[in-house]
């Protein structure tokens, strides 16, 4: 799972993203220019992508490493298939 330091960092990032989203709500209510709102939504998107990246790196060095080094071939396969699935889910193609 995610270690203590990474967990705190991820929660802080998610709190900042939550604040960013509230800011976008205000922009919409105050009738800001559409393009400016879209730019802020893209900034949130990028921030979420960064969180995903931190979680993935943590996952690879912990869960994936233990499973792949372990003795259970099914567990190994399951964990690698999840990485492939997550790649498919988030990729551009």
């Amino acid at each position: 799972m995610i270690d203590e330091t990474a967990r705190k960092q991820i929660v802080r990032r998610l709190q900042s993203i939550e604040g960013h989203i509230r800011g976008i709500q205000r922009m919409v209510e105050e009738n800001s220019y559409c393009i400016d709102i879209m730019k802020q939504i893209n900034a949130v998107d990028a921030a979420l992508g960064k969180v995903n990246q931190i979680i993935l790196e943590n996952h690879l060095s912990t869960c994936v490493t233990s499973a792949v080094r372990g003795d259970d071939p099914h567990e190994r396969e399951r964990v690698l298939q999840e990485i492939a699935d997550v790649f498919e889910m988030t990729s551009k193609g």
Copy 2:
């Protein structure tokens, strides 16, 4: 700008996204499985993409239409260049 009905709908969607992000914070604090957290982040991403889409459609039928039908060639060009920029910013390539 964004008309009253669309504005309310967009704010509601952003409030729901804000709640979703708080739910993800709890998942991280409660040490949920990394892959499950990543799936929720991707769901938020998709929801933000939908908001962007609604804002763009509104922008095209209001601001872009007036500017393109207007008499100012610079304004027309500016508005179309913004659409091209927003496409570049959000596209996969």
Copy 3:
């Protein structure tokens, strides 16, 4: 439609992309490292995104501009809906 200069530029870019893809075929046949192949595929992706961007900019300043400035409200709506659809098709969310 696409003007003569842009058309030649787009065809040249597509020819270069075609050559790039043949190069990737050779990499696969010669058993290159997977990660290096994936990097080249991403480079092709970026090059295709650039072509899409050039076509869109051309389309906005020609077809979309005429339709939106024209007298047919259905044609205007059709052309703007296509832009929204193309945005949805290529966007990340």
Copy 4:
């Protein structure tokens, strides 16, 4: 590296993509409608994403598995960092 069966399948897919790109060149030369060209470019994008996916799955079950099960911690770290990098490179965020 990529096993024989997967390699042939990948090369066939890349040859089909190459043909698709030549078809798009013809569409541009014959002055096809911009939006139709963009749709074909997006179809090529999706086909390239599928090739990337096949290569990644192969890479995870061969190179990554051996390195992670091996005795060299630097090699293990290198291989997992590459997966994280490839994820960042291809992801939407």
